[in-house]
Symmetry: C2
Subunit: 216 residues, 2 copies
């Protein structure tokens, strides 16, 4: 099985601009990427990085890197069109993914297995049907379910809170502080982020208060 | 095993006030409750309703109902103190819970099994340790993990996006429209709610536009 990990190396994690500055966003994104690549590897698969641009600072994760600056869907679909084995796509911001979660996922023996992300996205896919193509635009989980139905492919959703958590915005950092164990969780802790309760909701704040003016 | 389903009958789902009016909030909350009670029953367990007030309109779900107007933690802890068998607590707003999810949950043979809700809550618990007590205030998942450690009880987190989704606010309705199959999803559909994309995010809107002024 090929396991693709798409990564936005050009402008990572823009929706975390209210939490991190630009340099921090890149550091954090690379920490999550490292977590995901390690989890794939420890699950017994070999990850391949599919990056929108060359990695910053000549970073090297000892994995094959393909650079493709097109949007995600055509880049993935080109791989699918040429693949002669199953293909998995695992997003680079699944910082709660453990090897066992990914092992269980790729062991589900269906033609299309999709992991819904919170909010309608598709956080991971395992594709064993030769005609299936991806469409990450919009409510992609619903679209992928419909695409599978259209081509007569078996479709299964994989139910996991860890894999449903793609880390895109401040509220997702709560999950990382609560349940994370890897580089990204360590980075967040070292950067001074802690859980905080405001008005009955749980959020994250920097202990030095430096991000309070960024809080909406 | 006893399976308690706590339900706020007095003022249900206040955090959905920007989406529903008061009557709708109650209808929706009862639809979710019915889904949860059915899922528990179809999982092979007998649910018991633990309500903060008598049910509105003499509703009858054919389950035992205990009314306890105290906060959730003391109400549950009284049951735990007197229990001579395992006790499960399943929140009444887990509208994505299927019988198989609950069956898998209660089959995890550990002293304390906790289902993290998104945002730090505890959406379900299975308690087989006589000294374990609940504390639902604040970041309760973390607290429950610490309580278990303090009394030397085995603690396991149960990983499920469906069970992590307690339906509290507008963004949670996206999950219900995408993944729901029961009374609450039907109610939401009949009330005219559909998925909508605004600025790259997925949300829900009423097709008749009547809730647009409520949208933040």
């Amino acid at each position: 099985m090929r396991v693709l990990v798409p990564f936005d190396a050009a402008e990572p994690k823009t929706r975390l601009s209210d939490v991190f500055d630009r340099r921090e966003r890149a550091e954090f994104a690379y920490a999550m990427l490292e977590d995901v690549l390690e989890a794939v590897r420890e699950s017994g698969e070999e990850p391949e990085l599919l990056a929108t641009a060359p990695l910053a600072d000549e970073r090297d994760f000892s994995v094959p890197v393909a650079v493709d600056d097109r949007p995600l869907s055509p880049a993935i679909n080109d791989v699918l069109a040429g693949a002669d084995e199953p293909v998995a796509v695992v997003m680079a911001d699944l910082a709660l993914a453990r090897p066992i979660d990914l092992r269980r996922l790729v062991d589900v023996d269906e033609e299309v297995v999709a992991v819904p992300g919170r909010g309608g996205g598709t956080n991971a896919l395992v594709i064993r049907h030769p005609e299936f193509r991806v469409d990450y635009h919009g409510v992609s989980f619903r679209d992928h379910r419909e695409i599978a139905a259209r081509i007569g492919a078996e479709f299964t959703a994989f139910d996991s809170h860890r894999l449903a958590t793609d880390v895109d915005e401040r509220s997702d950092l709560v999950e990382l502080l609560l349940h994370g164990e890897g580089h990204a969780a360590d980075w967040l802790d070292a950067a001074g982020f802690r859980l905080a309760e405001t008005g009955g909701r749980v959020t994250v704040q920097r202990t030095d208060g430096s991000d309070s003016e960024r809080l909406k």
